[in-house]
Symmetry: C2
Subunit: 192 residues, 2 copies
């Protein structure tokens, strides 16, 4: 279904920003309200910019995600932090994987990373219980194809396509095709 999030060039207003963040984590107003210990009505009003929440309220809400105030205001929804990169965006990259990987997230501040080679057999699926952990994660599909879900975004990636996202956004990998999918991934900070 890939209900692409509308990439407002700048999510300046708090309401839109909260809504984008909430959807990015796959939460409903009520679910987030339950976790945060506030009412769903409050979240509704805030997201419509009908009210300007107090810091304490916003903090409670973000704790339900969880996300720090600093991260909330720092989060950048502009396309330079985009989740997906088309294969042709990487055409000028050398075939050395270590180098091509860095190029995938070239607009993101450099960090120490560690690469992995992953193979998804036909039908493989990391499952409904979306993965979520600290750090950042990126990868490039080598052969076969795979459906990757990150927050509310979902896409079928073919050889040459790539991804880059924060690992604390719930994510899922599954291979619906008839052949194995091989991809090279990297995560930060190195955990293996």
């Amino acid at each position: 279904m890939s209900a692409a999030v509308q990439n407002d060039e700048l999510a300046e207003d708090i309401g839109t920003r909260l809504k984008l963040v909430r959807q990015m984590f796959g939460l409903t107003q009520r679910e987030l309200a339950r976790r945060a210990g506030v009412t769903n009505g409050a979240i509704s009003l805030i997201e419509q910019n009908r009210v300007s929440p107090s810091i304490s309220s916003l903090k409670k809400i973000l704790d339900g995600i969880p996300l720090s105030l600093a991260d909330f205001f720092t989060l950048n929804f502009s396309s330079s932090d985009s989740v997906f990169f088309a294969g042709e965006e990487l055409t000028e990259i050398s075939y050395d994987p270590a180098i091509s990987m860095r190029m995938v997230g070239r607009k993101v501040k450099g960090r120490a990373m560690q690469m992995l080679r992953e193979v998804y057999q036909p039908g493989a699926d990391t499952g409904d219980a979306m993965l979520r952990h600290d750090g950042e994660e990126c990868g490039l599909v080598i052969s076969g194809s795979i459906i990757i879900t990150v927050g509310v975004q979902e896409r079928l990636l073919n050889p040459g396509d790539a991804y880059y996202f924060r690992s604390d956004i719930p994510h899922r990998f599954r291979n619906p095709g008839p052949e194995p999918c091989v991809l090279v991934s990297a995560n930060s900070p190195p955990s293996f």
Copy 2:
């Protein structure tokens, strides 16, 4: 008088954070209130954590500084961002000025910088109208001594001592002593 700001290892609460920021920019509650278009009472209550301000109020207040919400929550008051470095903290540094300068702010993310050699004659003073401009600024005293004021912090620096601060914090240099003061400074981004 050097009313040293209490460096709470983590200024977690909004009130303390706002107070530190306000003092760092040399503003009184009333002056900030006037610039921001709120009342001084509101700022007083917020700084005492008697109320949790709404985002709109906090934004108005920060606009009076000015400082973005993202910067406000990101600002780090921990000692690793400290303003002053004792001379002995630099002892292991080679006598090459270009190298010693980078070591002064070694805990700060590296940035492109440009160095200057400055001489302050006896009585020299950059004046009451505190300097303020974009970028960052650091330096090391070579000979003589100088009183440097940065926000609410003030200190007499002797040869071997050094400083590092964000240039948008109001600052002032003056040499009350009988001999010229020579110091090597660097600022970022390069402006000369």
